[in-house]
């Protein structure tokens, strides 16, 4: 009967996909359902800056061809939103009003871009870079040599910035608390790092808070369409404004399930939530760290993939604990290039 | 009027205990939502149930058309025959076995167009069957063409300008054909409909019940719930159901269709006559068909 188990995985990011892969290897007969909000199969989000290098066919970003899921008998459910999880009945409720029963559930819903509450009223004027669709949308909005204002920063945003500079666009970075998220840097390091960014050709503005964002009537070609005003009176203009303040875990749909949640899903070092048959992996979970005596997030695709793999193994009988797969130190080489583990993917 | 609360569980108990549901088949009727036929397919079981006629002793025969889907939705014997040929087949069934309650079902087109030639003969022979005619004045199954009872001026796909032909008056026809029980009902009045079906079945001889029933899909102007609801009246108290002329007069008034029993008389049925013959011919038995029935 174990063979016929139904493993449901919420999220097709690095973690979810790795988990599916591992599960299939370990339980050839099991049913595996992979749920995602995306309309596309798993693709490499780290690669998205390439849309600015002329790659516009989503198939170029796929990690596995569509046939992979059929061969592996992995039920890939796209455009599917989970609205609730009934842990007692072991059922996932989908937004379109379908009930999906599971034997084991792995939550790998990752995180979405965090927008500070004080900026929430400007939402309509802001762009995103979290998906292929958003990336293409930004690509279409941005004229050649156009300007992107990145609010906050964070390593994902900075990575995009590198590409944009490279492709002849200009970047204004409005530095703030999360500039090097998820790295934690000392004030000294910070100054050093910002200087490197400037050397890369990024205009860095240190502003305490954004006082307002306005849309300027788009004039002749090349005219900026957004004006950002800061608390300290300074201001800048840009074609696209990209808030980039790190990620917040997507957990709303888990509130009804009764499992422990703080910012993310609280899991043991073996990635088990407070519910026996529900695990979590990736950016969505806060893992208890024995030595640090606190729940903490581990970012970076290597960690996330390791979590996916570990969760799958523990779901199928093992009981191992999570070991970070990559160091998170940020260092500068020759005073010119920044090295972040979050930029090293293959 | 006061809005009296209705309590579902009470209603359900009532319906279940009545036993009428046992006369329904399992398959859901597939007519368009709003179709008057739903009312009839609920009425016949009710009537049979009240009359205490067992499903096994009932045969529902139909021709072709929306109405003729009927046998599939009742839990009795059923014969879905050919277009217009319901009465001959029904006659055969009844002639071969008196013990059966035979209900013939048909629409206006099936009964008075292609099958029109059969009606007089079933009537004059006084075959002991009940003919429920669903009159919606249209060919529904073939998506809305004029039928023999479509009103003059009525527009359909085959009379896109207007229908020229005078509508038949089936009631007057069957009255003159010599039907021994003639009544009229309206799908929008389920209780009365059910009562009339019951009487028609109880009648010994050819009983004809004309049922006005709206087609919500193809008739937005003529036989609508709105118009029928406003115009139907009850057969006047003082009407003498033994008076053929009075009955014909009632039937002639199509502006305010009279609901109820129009005519009722007693005459030997086809079976009676045939048995009389075989007795004349010197047959001594108690009636071969009755034995066949046992």
């Amino acid at each position: 009967m174990n063979a016929a188990r139904h493993h449901v995985i919420i999220g097709t990011g690095v973690a979810g996909n790795q988990a599916a892969r591992t599960l299939r290897q370990r339980e050839p007969a099991a049913r595996i359902s992979l749920l995602t909000l995306s309309a596309l199969p798993f693709y490499n989000r780290y690669d998205l800056p390439r849309v600015f290098r002329g790659v516009h066919d989503w198939r170029e970003f796929l990690v596995d061809p569509p046939s992979y899921y059929e061969e592996q008998r992995i039920g890939l459910r796209r455009c599917t939103r989970v609205v609730n999880v009934d842990a007692k009945r072991k059922v996932v409720m989908l937004e379109h009003n379908e009930e999906l029963p599971y034997d084991t559930l792995l939550v790998a819903s990752g995180g979405r871009a965090y927008l500070p509450e004080e900026l929430s009223e400007y939402q309509p004027l802001l762009d995103g870079f979290g998906s292929f669709e958003q990336a293409m949308a930004m690509r279409r909005k941005l004229p050649d040599e156009g300007t992107v204002a990145i609010l906050g920063g964070d390593m994902i945003g900075l990575d995009l910035a590198r590409t944009l500079i490279d492709t002849g666009h200009s970047v204004v970075l409005v530095a703030g608390k999360q500039t090097f998220w998820p790295h934690v840097e000392t004030p000294e390091q910070r100054q050093e790092l910002l200087r490197v960014l400037e050397r890369m050709g990024i205009e860095v503005i240190e502003a305490d808070e954004v006082g307002g964002i306005a849309s300027i009537r788009a004039g002749a070609r090349g005219f900026a369409t957004r004006r950002v005003v800061f608390g300290n009176g300074r201001e800048c203009t840009a074609d696209v404004v990209l808030p980039s303040f790190g990620l917040v875990p997507s957990v709303e749909f888990m509130l009804g399930s009764g499992v422990g949640i703080e910012r993310g899903l609280l899991v043991s070092p073996s990635l088990r939530t407070t519910d026996e048959s529900i695990f979590a992996a990736g950016d969505v979970c806060q893992i208890w760290s024995g030595e640090e005596k606190r729940y903490r997030f581990y970012y970076g695709w290597k960690n996330v993939r390791a979590m996916g793999d570990l969760a799958a193994r523990n779901l199928t009988g093992d009981d191992e604990t999570f070991e970070p797969a990559q160091d998170e130190t940020l260092h500068i080489e020759g005073g010119v290039t920044i090295h972040s583990p979050f930029w090293e993917y293959a | 009027m006061k809005t009296q609360p209705i309590y579902l569980e009470d209603k359900l108990r009532e319906v279940n205990e009545s036993g009428r549901l046992t006369y329904r088949s399992r398959s859901m009727p597939t007519w368009c939502p709003g179709c008057g036929y739903f009312s009839i397919v609920d009425g016949l079981p009710g009537a049979l149930n009240d009359a205490g006629i067992a499903p096994k002793d009932t045969v529902v025969v139909s021709g072709i058309g929306c109405s003729s889907r009927f046998p599939f939705f009742v839990n009795t014997y059923g014969f879905h025959t050919l277009h217009g040929r319901v009465l001959p087949v029904a006659t055969g069934i009844k002639t071969a076995n008196d013990a059966l309650t035979v209900i013939a079902i048909g629409g206006d087109g099936d009964g008075f167009a292609i099958g029109g030639g059969h009606v007089p003969h079933a009537a004059r022979r006084n075959v002991d069957i009940t003919y429920l005619l669903f009159d919606n004045g249209i060919y529904g199954l073939t998506k809305g063409q004029t039928s023999p009872t479509s009103a003059v001026g009525f527009r359909t796909s085959t009379s896109p300008y207007e229908n020229l032909d005078q509508p038949l008056n089936p009631l007057m026809m069957v009255l003159t054909y010599g039907a021994t029980w003639v009544g009229q009902a309206y799908a929008g009045r389920p209780q009365q409909l059910e009562a009339l079906i019951k009487q028609a079945i109880a009648h010994r001889g050819f009983s004809y019940l004309h049922i006005l029933s709206p087609c919500v899909t193809f008739d937005k102007t003529d036989k609508t719930y709105q118009r029928l609801g406003d115009h139907v009246v009850d057969v006047p108290k003082e009407h003498d159901t033994g008076n053929l002329v009075a009955a014909i007069a009632l039937a002639a008034n199509t502006n305010t269709p009279a609901l109820g029993v129009l005519y009722r008389t007693v005459r030997p049925t086809l079976a009676d006559a045939l048995d009389a013959i075989s007795e004349k011919a010197g047959y001594k038995g108690a009636g071969v068909r009755r034995r066949a029935a046992a």
């Binding site: 609205v83 609730n84 409720m93 009003n97 509450e117 004080e118 929430s120 509130l255 009764g258 422990g260 949640i261 703080e262 910012r263 609280l266 407070t274 208890w288 005596k293 606190r294 729940y295 | 009027m1 006061k2 809005t3 009296q4 609360p5 209705i6 309590y7 579902l8 569980e9 209603k11 359900l12 319906v15 279940n16 549901l21 046992t22 329904r24 088949s25 399992r26 398959s27 859901m28 009727p29 939502p33 709003g34 179709c35 008057g36 739903f38 009312s39 397919v41 609920d42 939705f73 839990n75 799908a187 929008g188 389920p190 209780q191 709206p214 919500v216 719930y225 609801g229």
Partner: protein
């Protein structure tokens, strides 16, 4: 007591004659109302929400205000600071239906938009000559005083503070609840000759009135002294100048902090403020602190943001004002510097446990996971408890050391009643008001020897659907708020500005009017399913069975898949959103609508 609001006095619409109105006590009708009007059932004061929202939608704001008053005497107040138990159960918020109706905001709108010359309508009872003393002029006391005075009793209200209102006035900051609103509605509540004794404490001390004497001079005494003592938080003190936490000027309890502020004392905070606690009080402290000029304000909670009993709106506004919330931590100590000033708070890391009986989440400290958060001011708002040491007569207490009351609302001492937070421990304002009214009812019953009023279901036919399907697509109206930069340093500036008439009407239209009861007359139904065809939800069903619960409410319908099981076609009122589509579609008019709601009538 409460104004009996029936759709009789509906301006334009022709009023149904009393012949059409029927009253029912059938448990199934009672059950229907309880089950089908979730907002009213969830309201501790039993506010007839659909009735007042319908009044608003039809532009009768004054009437809407009265319908509110009939259930809770302070609509304008609750319209601002209610904890909104109703909205969390609103049918419009059910999965697939969108967002709940802004019931609370509408309550406020009714108060804001009623005509200037609005006159209060109340059905008064003849004087009974009975004298009643009430201790404490908080929400519970005031509600009780109002109801009892309406019932013809002679009420005296004792309040320790200089002004009435209790928690309303001293616990809640002005930017959430302007004082003139409190004054106005308290006046209306107590205008029926209630004798007011301000600054008159009840207790054993000198120039304090003794409860024993109150009992002597009155037919009944009601204790509604609330829950005014902060829960103590044991904290280890570490640092260069060890002394007790109480001595430290930078550590203060939230409630006294707010009360002091509202008594007019000058309050200050230093650069970084830590607030511990998870209730409205904690949030208020934090938001006051930002207004007093703190640079960095953080609320530290034992569980997590998702589990704290505060409305999302409050949390959102607090965050916009820069307040941060950190979870899974319990304060265990404070660190003082050489001057004995606060330099940090020591916390222990928690993990989440199961759920407590009260529906709150448990937090379990983890051995040896202590850590320090630097800060210069600590405000402790982890809850309140009752004080009953002022009682000079012995009464039974429960396990939480609160006064125990019986079914009849009376304490172990004859004639001495108690209600509100004083009995239940800390709850919400609307809860307190509900309790106060209940107490009033019980006192009245006890004094008069029998209940004078009873609750019945009134059923009034409604000619046609009162809604359009389009209303269901109106999105929830957002409460306009004061610009962020205006708020700093201004404790008086009200943050929520109130909705204008247009917004109000739009929001009111969103209400499904759950008190409308759609039913199919099974005997006249022809099973044609025209209604199912137009149904916007899975709300009309072919049924073969239904589960009826002991309390008269309907459980799940057993749907029929086969024709010979179809006992009836039925409108599932639980799914029904009162859009009226079926009513309009039925070809034989076998669908009827009635307005079913609770009313109170005199007992014979």
């Amino acid at each position: 007591m409460s104004v009996v609001v029936v759709p009789q006095d509906k301006g334009d619409e022709e009023a149904p004659s009393s012949a059409q109105v029927m009253h029912s006590e059938d448990p199934r009708d009672v059950g229907w109302v309880i089950q089908n009007i979730p907002c009213q059932s969830a309201c501790p004061a039993g506010t007839n929400v659909p009735a007042y929202i319908r009044a608003i939608a039809e532009g009768r704001h004054g009437e809407a205000y009265e319908i509110n008053r009939s259930a809770n005497v302070l609509p304008g107040v609750l319209g601002r600071i209610c904890s909104r138990p109703c909205e969390s159960v609103c049918r419009h918020g059910w999965s697939g239906n969108g967002e709940p109706v802004g019931i609370c905001n509408l309550k406020r709108s009714a108060a804001d938009l009623k005509s200037a010359g609005h006159r209060i309508t109340e059905r008064l009872y003849a004087p009974t000559g009975k004298r009643i003393a009430i201790v404490g002029a908080g929400p519970a006391g005031v509600a009780a005083a109002h109801d009892l005075s309406v019932l013809g009793h002679d009420v005296t209200l004792f309040e320790r503070e200089q002004h009435f209102g209790g928690m309303l006035r001293y616990g809640i900051p002005e930017f959430r609840l302007p004082r003139d609103i409190i004054d106005f509605e308290l006046h209306n509540a107590l205008r029926l000759g209630v004798e007011l004794r301000r600054g008159q404490a009840v207790g054993k001390g000198p120039d304090q009135v003794r409860v024993a004497n109150l009992l002597k001079d009155h037919d009944a005494v009601l204790l509604a002294a609330g829950c005014m003592a902060p829960l103590p938080l044991p904290l280890k003190v570490r640092g260069d100048a060890p002394e007790s936490a109480d001595g430290c000027p930078d550590v203060e309890h939230g409630l006294p902090f707010l009360m002091g502020l509202h008594r007019g004392e000058r309050k200050t905070v230093r650069r970084r403020v830590a607030v511990v606690g998870a209730g409205f009080t904690a949030l208020d402290c934090a938001r006051v602190a930002t207004r007093l000029g703190a640079q960095e304000v953080t609320i530290h909670i034992r569980t997590a943001e998702e589990y704290i009993p505060v409305t999302k709106e409050e949390i959102f506004e607090a965050k916009r004002e820069g307040v941060r919330i950190k979870g899974l931590r319990t304060p265990v100590g404070i660190i003082l510097d050489s001057e004995g000033r606060l330099s940090g708070v020591e916390f222990v890391q928690n993990r989440l446990g199961g759920w407590r009986k009260d529906g709150r989440r448990q937090a379990i400290p983890i051995e040896g996971s202590e850590f320090v958060e630097p800060c210069e001011t600590l405000l402790i708002a982890i809850g309140q408890k009752t004080v009953n040491d002022f009682l000079d007569i012995r009464v039974e207490l429960d396990q939480w050391q609160n006064v125990r009351i019986g079914e009849d609302g009376m304490t172990s001492a004859r004639g001495l009643f108690a209600c509100g937070d004083f009995v239940t421990g800390p709850t919400t304002v609307v809860e307190a008001i509900g309790r106060g009214r209940l107490a009033a009812q019980k006192i009245d019953t006890w004094l008069m020897g029998k209940p004078r009023r009873k609750r019945v279901v009134q059923i009034v036919p409604v000619q046609e659907p009162l809604r359009e399907r389009a209303f269901d697509f109106i999105s929830r109206q957002h409460m306009p708020t004061a610009p962020l930069h205006d708020r700093l340093g201004k404790n008086q500036l009200e943050v929520e500005l109130g909705m204008d008439t247009e917004q109000t009407t739009q929001e009111a239209r969103r209400c499904y009017l759950c008190n409308l009861h759609y039913q199919i007359d099974v005997d006249r139904c022809i099973y044609c399913r025209a209604c199912i065809e137009v149904a916007p939800r899975n709300c009309i069903k072919l049924v073969q069975g239904v589960e009826v619960r002991p309390d008269g409410t309907y459980g799940s319908l057993r749907e029929a898949r086969e024709w010979n099981q179809v006992g009836a076609i039925w409108i599932d009122n639980n799914e029904c959103i009162r859009c009226g589509a079926c009513f309009r579609a039925c070809p034989v008019n076998c669908i009827s609508i009635s307005c079913n709601e609770f009313v109170e009538v005199d007992t014979p």
